[in-house]
């Protein structure tokens, strides 16, 4: 029983990170049908920007307030970078053959990874804040305050996104563009601006997850984005790519499945569990759990 609860709790935290990153994949895919390979690297960039900002203020003693300010600042900075990437690398290629834009995304990913390696070094960096390991004992499982805090922040971010998309004018525009781009253009919506905003939101959510993951695990590395990007993509596909609640659900499910997989098969196999799952879903049910049936050529 205690193992079950512990697995559930650990999986929930990882799942929350996956969900936040998967949202970026899903939003970008929903709006311009691009799989942004570089998205996982924005998560890594978020971890590093957060690391630098925290190192700067930790001299004067970073309280909880400081951490939250850093989190928000990181999200804004990396969001702007995401928007810049869209402007420079993707927008000119929106009409080009699909292969070109996919290769461009790969190039951006290589660029971000190696740029970070040059900027912050290739070795593991220790995060300047250590989160507490105190917690509650629930049914024999140890659940820390940190875990609860991280899940809470992730939930707040997702709630904010949900409200933004369902209540604001920009959210409405996003949904409309995902539905029919030409019609939106004819109705006077500034399509490029909304696409840029989508990239901003996606990148900042990934960056938020990056900073939180850095604080949670304690170390960051320039390669951390690659695998997690792939997993977040798996989460997005699991939930149904293009569907926002799907991405949230997919992330949580994948996190828990992976923790369970680690428990059953051992740590070295957990990536195999995730990727096998990805291939299985794509083959058996490409629409995912909450995805709509798309009548596109497969």
């Amino acid at each position: 029983m205690d193992i079950l609860v512990q697995t559930l709790a650990d999986g929930l935290v990882i799942g929350a990170f996956y969900s936040l990153i998967a949202l970026g994949y899903t939003m970008v895919f929903g709006i311009i049908k691009l799989l942004n390979f570089a998205h996982g690297d924005l998560y890594m960039l978020g971890a590093f920007v957060g690391y630098s900002l925290l190192s700067m203020i930790s001299g004067s003693g970073a309280g909880l307030m400081g951490i939250i300010v850093v989190l928000l600042l990181t999200m804004v900075i990396v969001g702007a970078i995401g928007m810049g990437i869209e402007r420079v690398a993707y927008r000119p290629l929106l009409l080009a053959p699909r292969l070109s834009i996919l290769i461009t995304a790969l190039g951006v990913s290589l660029f971000l990874e190696n740029g970070s390696m040059i900027a912050w070094g290739a070795q593991y960096q220790v995060y300047p804040v250590q989160l507490s390991h105190d917690g509650w004992n629930v049914l024999g499982a140890q659940i820390t305050y940190t875990q609860m805090g991280l899940v809470l922040i992730s939930a707040l971010l997702m709630l904010g996104l949900h409200l933004f998309i369902s209540r604001t004018l920009y959210g409405k525009a996003m949904r409309a563009i995902a539905h029919d781009q030409t019609a939106c253009h004819l109705m006077g919506i500034n399509v490029h601006k909304v696409i840029g905003l989508t990239f901003f939101i996606g990148a900042s959510l990934a960056a938020g997850a990056g900073t939180m993951a850095g604080a949670y695990y304690g170390t960051v590395n320039f390669m951390m984005g690659f695998i997690i990007g792939l997993k977040a993509f798996t989460a997005a596909v699991l939930g149904g790519i293009g569907s926002i609640p799907g991405a949230m659900l997919g992330g949580l499910l994948l996190g828990m499945m992976e923790t369970a997989g680690t428990f059953v098969f051992g740590g070295s196999w957990k990536d195999v569990v995730a990727f096998s799952l990805l291939i299985l879903i794509l083959v058996l049910k490409p629409t995912g759990i909450m995805g709509e049936k798309v009548t596109e050529r497969m």
Partner: protein, 333 residues
């Protein structure tokens, strides 16, 4: 360039390649050998990405299948190298079909990410399995021999891979101009139209994927005996990306272009030794710039310069708002 001049050029190039071991030092001979490995790998991937338009991001996995098959058969079962070669090719073809059969029905970007995941699975398997020697890999792979002559020197392996590279180039060239090649290019340009014209697109794609796998595994087998030790590190995602870069840089679907791309991918980092850390950064930027300004590669395929795609890219470059209305057919398709 007239065809006869072209032929003379190729003959001269071959003669120069044959004489290279006598003219250069060991260091550059090693670089040349590595470049030839990349020529073979890039030609294999050229069939998959260049001809058939299937973005494969896990191509290094087939390189690994070849290397590990040869490594295991030679060290554990003491087979002759020449016997392991067809077995490795068969294994790669089978793995290609196993991965390809379910996934090749997917859209191009899904396929890309599935192959990426598959490449990672192969690498993790190599790290974790007992038979592949886990993280330290397989070492002490014996040297191959022809009759009584044991291939051991740098020069021997240079000639071996040179022969395989020439064969690969010839084979891929023949494939590209054959009925099969035209069917692949048709699929690449317009899948639905190809299917409507009676091309079995799944079978054709599977064939392209498997042929690419076989060529990759061949390079892997030779790599195993050349290095006499293999480790999972050699078959990482970066390896797949570098092979893809060679294909893209040279020109998708263009045989001489891909050879040029492979040579550049190996030679440039050697020339950029002083900026070691920066090279992947530069390559990443090169990929983006290439796609933005010269998507057809440095040496594009002659027959392939489709007017439509080029003018499309040109129009897209302006990126003004009026273009958005044009996307719709594509994205709602």
């Amino acid at each position: 360039m007239r065809p006869s001049q072209n032929k003379i050029g190729i003959v001269l190039l071959l003669v120069a390649l044959c004489l290279l071991p006598f003219l250069s030092n060991n260091y550059w001979l090693d670089v040349a050998t590595l470049a030839l490995f990349y020529v073979v790998l890039a030609q294999g991937l050229n069939v998959v990405v260049g001809f058939a338009g299937l973005l494969d991001l896990g191509y290094a996995a087939f390189f690994a299948v070849g290397a590990y098959t040869t490594g295991i058969l030679m060290t554990v079962f003491h087979w002759s190298f020449w016997l392991t070669l067809p077995v490795a090719m068969l294994c790669a073809a089978i793995v290609g079909v196993i991965v390809g059969a379910p996934t090749l029905r997917l859209r191009s970007d899904y396929l890309a990410i599935v192959t990426l995941g598959f490449g990672e699975i192969i690498r993790i398997l190599a790290i974790n399995l007992e038979i592949t020697g886990s993280a330290s890999g397989i070492y002490g792979i014996p040297r191959p021999s022809i009759g009584g002559y044991v291939l051991s020197g740098q020069m021997d392996f240079y000639y071996l891979i040179l022969i395989v590279a020439v064969l690969a180039v010839l084979a891929v060239r023949r494939l590209g101009t054959s009925r099969l090649g035209r069917a692949w290019m048709y699929i690449r340009e317009d899948e639905d139209a190809a299917e409507a014209m009676g091309i079995n697109r799944i079978r054709m794609k599977l064939l392209a994927y498997s042929i690419g796998a076989v060529i990759g595994s061949m390079a892997g087998s030779i790599f195993a005996v050349k290095m006499s030790a293999i480790a999972p590190l050699s078959f990482s995602f970066t390896q797949s990306i570098m092979i893809l870069l060679a294909v893209v840089l040279g020109g998708l679907g263009s045989i001489p272009g891909v050879v040029l791309g492979a040579v550049l991918v190996i030679a440039l980092p050697e020339l950029l030794r002083s900026v070691e850390d920066w090279r992947y950064l530069i390559f990443g930027a090169a990929l983006v710039v290439m796609m933005l300004f010269r998507p057809q590669g440095l040496w594009p395929a002659r027959y392939e310069s489709t007017k439509a795609s080029r003018s499309g890219a040109k129009k897209a470059r302006k990126g003004d708002d009026a273009d958005v209305s044009l996307d719709v057919e594509k994205y709602n398709a």
